[in-house]
Point group: C2
């Protein structure tokens, strides 16, 4: 399988994928029959370069990491916008890693749609378009034949969707619940040491773990987008993030957190998607008391985890990173391999 | 893909696989293009039946579950031994689920070898032959073209080997450690409540969680066989169970277990396989102190878990059942799907 790759967005995640592409080039060819070249990179800050003969990816990473734009490097064409890049680059594989917007999914939504309408394969870590437009995008993918994969939208590269593509094949799932937001889990973990919510939040902001406007994390919006994606993918729903029953951690008191520990448990922000009594898909985000015997209770700091209730194995829990350049970049690599395998059938 | 299946052994695990084959028949065909019939069953206690036109598997499960032999049912030929069944049944897929013997791997070793030499695919949950003869069996598999899969030898159907077949594809592993024996983990969990080793062991034996001769479990032999399989598969070793550095739990005192909890941690029987400083594969089983923040520390009762240290995602932990009719039966189903997919390439 030969992938001509266009990067739409070339921030931390895109470069994490680039690192792995370069590092694993021989292995991809030998073990999976995958050969690749990068024909275009378009980033709203870093600039844009396109070359059907192939771009020097290592050089592009170096330039972007040093804070310089990529337009200084060689390439046939410069300055194209994202949609032009998708349409004109000749890429058959589009990596959509622009910023997340869970109001209308833009600009990622338009990028993914344009690529899929042209029959291109898409791998994305962008929660906006996948949580808001899952059904439409999957329909276009199935009509035009380009695959759409989004492992990195939940738990970064820690396997969630790809887990059911092989290892848990033929397993039915009745519910999924877990810790899908590292920032709030870090805050709750720190509060367990006796520190107040506002004290910990301020430090997390200072250290770059929380945004200046922490609403997306602490009010549960990020977790709600992920719960919507899980409900839509596993339970055939069409739930948008704002329809997810949602409570964040801003109302959780120090007394509740330390009280939970005294009672032999823990409070965690749990995202949940499940099939209700009448077969309907449901999704929820809420601070939840867990007994210490629950594998999710021991997950501290920015680590993420999900428990799947299956009809074959009962409860299966996967624990791993929920963010990071390399871990999220790996989500895109595993999606690429998964697409190559699905095309080989 | 069409599988003509021969069951060698038809105890709990074999019947667990049979349950799932029957239950998932439509799904297997629709989602994975797999059609199957069972052409032979040979069990040392239940008897043997063979029919190239196909055996009524539901009836065979009913007879075996009720404690009656299967020879009362219809079928072209009765009374064949295991090796005759492998050679004469015309099966292209052999399910080896006889008893475990980690001294010389027999009779499973001879069964698997005979099947692979005839180019048949083999799925097994039998730790004996896989821990003792991994390299030889894999060589025959690769020479003759029949696939050999053994997901159920470690953590029953909870994904271990199949995890790297897709979801963790292209990831390198430097070490694997975890809880791979449910009986000893149950005993340690009960000791945490203040009960002595011998008291808990006696109860576990009464309830059927531990054998009358508990040596395989409590002296770490079962865990050592699994550590050897992990070392041989992931690190290219040829380590036999008796070469694994091994300490069981029979010497663990109540004071050590409760003392660990007072110090904010837990004692677990940890099996470990890793690459040493000079690149050599190593394997070990020992009671180990874990801090409460380690995801393995919260794994109670008969649940199993493994943490993989990878070069793509850092630490990934999978938690799930380590035994059980359905969970171990599912290991064979996931192996069958995995073989079908590998053949489609």
């Amino acid at each position: 399988m030969r992938f001509d790759i266009a990067f739409i967005g070339f921030g931390t995640v895109g470069r994490g994928f680039a690192d792995l592409l370069l590092e694993k080039r021989e292995l991809l060819k030998k073990a999976y029959g995958i050969e690749w070249k990068v024909v275009a990179i378009s980033d709203i800050k870093g600039g844009s370069v396109m070359d059907p003969k192939g771009i020097d990816l290592a050089e592009a990473v170096r330039l972007a990491d040093s804070g310089n734009g990529i337009e200084g490097m060689g390439g046939e064409k410069k300055g194209l916008g994202a949609l032009e890049t998708i349409r004109e680059s000749g890429a058959n594989f589009v990596v959509e890693v622009t910023w997340t917007n869970i109001k209308d999914g833009e600009p990622g939504y338009s990028h993914i749609k344009a690529a899929l309408e042209m029959g291109k394969h898409v791998a994305t870590t962008n929660k906006g378009p996948i949580s808001l437009h899952y059904r439409e995008l999957m329909r276009i993918s199935s009509e035009r034949g380009g695959r759409l994969r989004f492992e990195g939208t939940v738990l970064s590269g820690t396997p969630v969707f790809n887990l059911f593509d092989g290892p848990l094949a033929a397993s039915g799932v009745s519910s999924i619940r877990g810790i899908v937001n590292g920032t709030t889990n870090l805050i709750l973990s720190e509060m367990e040491k006796g520190r107040t919510y506002s004290e910990v939040l301020k430090e997390a902001q200072r250290m770059g773990y929380a945004e200046a406007d922490p609403t997306m994390d602490v009010e549960g919006w990020d977790a709600a987008a992920k719960a919507a994606i899980l409900a839509n993918h596993f339970f055939g729903a069409d739930i948008k993030p704002d329809a997810v029953a949602r409570r964040g951690i801003s109302g959780v008191t120090l007394e509740e957190v330390t009280g939970a520990i005294r009672k032999g448990g823990r409070i965690k922000l749990i995202a949940k998607a499940w099939r209700g009594d009448r077969g309907e898909a449901r999704a929820e985000v809420a601070p939840t008391w867990l007994p210490a015997s629950d594998p999710l209770a021991s997950i501290g700091g920015v680590t993420n985890a999900l428990t799947f209730s299956t009809d074959t194995l009962g409860d299966i829990t996967i624990v791993g990173p929920g963010a990071g350049r390399r871990a999220t970049g790996y989500a895109l690599l595993s999606d690429m391999i998964s697409i190559a395998r699905s095309l080989a059938h």
